[in-house]
């Protein structure tokens, strides 16, 4: 056997070193240096177990006004879980969630940190806490084989909101599998109190399959290197902050979001649709520098703190405002706010009216001539018994003109509407069943679900009462009730008028 001298050290020597209980230099980062000797003033500090929470929850604010020795146990586990509906992924996690457990300590605390790598893990892991001052942020001190645990101690010198992540090679893969989280080092003076605190982190997932492709998806090395993730997600899964899982608040409360970006590669343009951040601690620093921010940039491996008071109810959407990520890759969450409306701050939609573009404006020469013509036609019809006798036919003809001006864009010239979008009027069981309702629909509009000829529609019919006269409404109703194989009596302007005068 030929061996290279550098690659093949003396095995007896190595064994000897191990027997002596001292790891040789060749052991690399696994070498343990033994427990740190803490000075009496540190040993005198009260000891407490850190409260860890999984997202979107945040541990309670720190009430004590002094430093402590805080013990943190963080377990690394690798397991298969849902990435999206029908899509599974093998996540690598701190504390069993993506992002990992939220850690909350106070400036000056001395932290005894235990990293436990579960025996079922396939690979070694470690942790680099950006809150740590020291080589690798704890990475080399916590490099841990499967089925082992490491311990190291650090003092939190700098307050702020910090990302932690796995820093074992290949690092992008460890992070892309979910190995990141946040650690908040509260300043000695504490953070300003708020009503609600939430924990949200963004990260990309590089699956072999495209977005939504079902089955257990593997990590795709090429997509990772090219930074082309099929998924960009908040809190590790599509829909993790949506619907029943949305975070909630009440009108009048102040909400704080601790927002971090695990990456591994993409920067987030963090934005909450319909809210303005009253305060932003940019980059997770503690010097408050910015107010009234629409979108805040959060770097990969960085974090930010945002505060905002919710003044009105509604659903506020959290997005990465690089919007293809929100629309196509899953970077979307929800904050649901309940409480009384304030229509001065936000009215909701006040009016939905038909806009016809360039028509003859009231008072114009064209409008005046049209009105004059209408008057002459009306007088003529009234005076001529032959014409007056053809009332229904005339109404149908005139109604067709109204229809072609106001109705056909949606219901189509053939009265068949657009399948699934706009319901048909031709042989419409719904319309023909109730004449008065038909009048009301034209005047007052209609929203919500309606079943026509067995098909359900859910779109908006604008109210036309401001756009048409009673006579025009009677004409167009007569037309639609007699066109395309429909048949029915003529409508009179008086019938329309009585519905128009209904009180809502």
């Amino acid at each position: 056997m030929k061996t290279h001298p550098l690659l093949f050290p003396s095995i007896p020597l190595l064994a000897l070193a191990l027997l002596a209980g001292r790891a040789p230099a060749a052991e690399g980062p696994s070498a343990a240096q033994g427990p740190v000797i803490l000075p009496p003033e540190v040993l005198a500090l009260p000891v407490e177990q850190a409260v860890l929470t999984s997202p979107p929850r945040v541990p309670p604010p720190i009430a004590r006004k002094h430093a402590a020795r805080v013990i943190v146990h963080l377990e690394v586990r690798e397991f298969v879980a849902r990435l999206a509906d029908g899509v599974d992924y093998t996540f690598w996690t701190y504390g069993g969630s993506v992002p990992g457990s939220f850690i909350r300590i106070r400036e000056g605390d001395v932290v005894e940190f235990h990293l436990e790598n579960h025996p079922s893990s396939k690979v070694p892991h470690n942790i680099d806490l950006h809150a740590v001052t020291g080589s690798g942020g704890g990475a080399s001190a916590t490099f841990t084989a499967p089925g082992h645990a490491s311990k190291f101690t650090f003092q939190a010198l700098n307050p702020g909101l910090y990302v932690y992540h796995c820093a074992t090679a290949p690092v992008p893969m460890h992070i892309a599998n979910g190995m990141y989280g946040l650690i908040l080092v509260e300043p000695k003076a504490g953070m300003p109190p708020v009503d609600r605190e939430f924990y949200v982190m963004q990260g990309e997932f590089y699956t072999t399959g495209r977005y939504g492709e079902e089955g257990l998806q593997a990590f795709d090395l090429a997509k990772s290197i090219d930074e082309r993730p099929p998924y960009v997600l908040f809190n590790g899964a599509v829909g993790s902050l949506v619907g029943d899982k949305a975070v909630t608040a009440k009108v009048g409360e102040t909400v704080r979001i601790y927002f971090g970006v695990g990456g591994p590669n993409l920067t987030s343009s963090f934005h909450v649709i319909g809210e303005i951040f009253d305060k932003v601690w940019p980059e997770g620093g503690t010097k408050f520098v910015q107010e009234n921010v629409q979108t805040t940039m959060v770097p990969a491996g960085g974090a930010t703190i945002v505060d905002f008071k919710v003044e009105v109810p509604g659903t506020f959407i959290l997005v990465d405002h690089s919007l293809s990520r929100a629309f196509n890759k899953g970077a979307l969450g929800m904050l649901k706010v309940e409480g009384p409306e304030n229509r001065v701050i936000y009215s909701g939609k006040e009016i939905d009216a038909v806009y016809l573009g360039a028509q003859a404006a009231a008072g114009s020469e064209a409008a005046r001539r049209e009105a004059e013509l209408q008057t002459r036609i009306a007088a003529e019809m009234k005076a001529n018994p032959a014409i007056a006798g053809l009332t229904k036919e005339v109404q149908i003809e005139k109604g067709k003109q109204v229809y072609m001006g106001l109705c056909f864009a949606c219901h189509q010239a053939d009265g068949n509407g657009l399948p699934g979008v706009f319901p048909p009027l031709a042989k419409s069981d719904y319309m023909l069943a109730d004449r008065e309702r038909a009048i009301r629909t034209i005047l007052k509009g209609m929203t919500g679900k309606v079943t026509v000829n067995g098909q359900t529609y859910d779109s908006v019919m604008p109210p036309l009462e401001a756009a048409i006269t009673d006579a025009q409404a009677a004409d167009v109703l007569t037309y639609v009730f007699n066109a395309w194989g429909n048949s029915g009596d003529a409508f009179t302007p008086a019938q329309v008028k009585s519905v128009r005068n209904e009180t809502r």
């Binding site: 056997m1 030929k2 061996t3 290279h4 550098l6 690659l7 093949f8 050290p9 095995i11 190595l14 064994a15 191990l18 027997l19 790891a23 040789p24 230099a25 060749a26 052991e27 690399g28 980062p29 696994s30 690798e78 397991f79 298969v80 992924y89 093998t90 025996p119 079922s120 893990s121 396939k122 690979v123 070694p124 470690n126 680099d128 690798g136 990475a139 080399s140 490099f143 841990t144 084989a145 499967p146 089925g147 082992h148 820093a167 074992t168 090679a169 290949p170 690092v171 893969m173 072999t208 257990l216 998806q217 593997a218 990590f219 795709d220 090395l221 290197i225």
Partner: protein, 266 residues
Amino acid sequence: MNRRGLFALLLAVPVGLVGEEAARVVKMLPIPAGDYAPPLRAAGEPERVAVAAFLLDERPVTNAEFLAFVTTQPRWRRSQISPLFAEEAYLHHWAGDLELGPLAPGAAPVVRVSWFAARAYARWAGKRLPTTAEWELAAAAGFTRADGKNDPELARAAQVWLARPVPSILPEAASARPDFNGVRGLHGLVWEWVEDFSTAMVTGESRADSGLNRDLFCGAGAVSARDPGDYAAFMRLALRSSLTARYTTTALGFRCARDLPAHTSP
């Protein structure tokens, strides 16, 4: 005739049998000479390391084979092994000292063995552990071509394996797909001990002396990396670096190697 066929011909000479017959029924296959380029390299280290042709077990050592070993070598049994040579989790998934149990099928690769134990087994079987360079040379073969780097199926197999957690019951060692050299399970079955695993990260006295940042952490590892895109190689390197010789893990087994008889060396 391809190179592999030529080697098979050269190997018509049977290798000498020592130790327990039962444990050595595994076929040994010739791995052609080649060279190995370490993923990380210290200043002054050669870019490529020449590796002589050698023999490698067709598949990892199985539970049944390891049972035969501990049966005849009581000091390597679970209850008797010195804590210096293996940590508590040694053979933890076996039902007893000499009983495999449901979690350790006889034909599945043995895991939760320390480097010391793997080495003792190899010696008992009249073999040795492969070096990192030998193991990596063998693992560089593809399924359908000698050059695995350009075999997309090999990359996919490694990728798929890494995407799944360790199963609580491992598949049979002989069930893995054979590669170009006929070797099974180098990718996608278990990690494997190598003789010189402890050189994975550090060769010199310190980082300062070697003038090279040996940290694998964050971007630092990429600075001196031969191919930062070879994630599978990095993961093997990281795993070896995380170990000490008495560690055992749920997905770490081993296989044996042997020098080619002198007259058959190319």
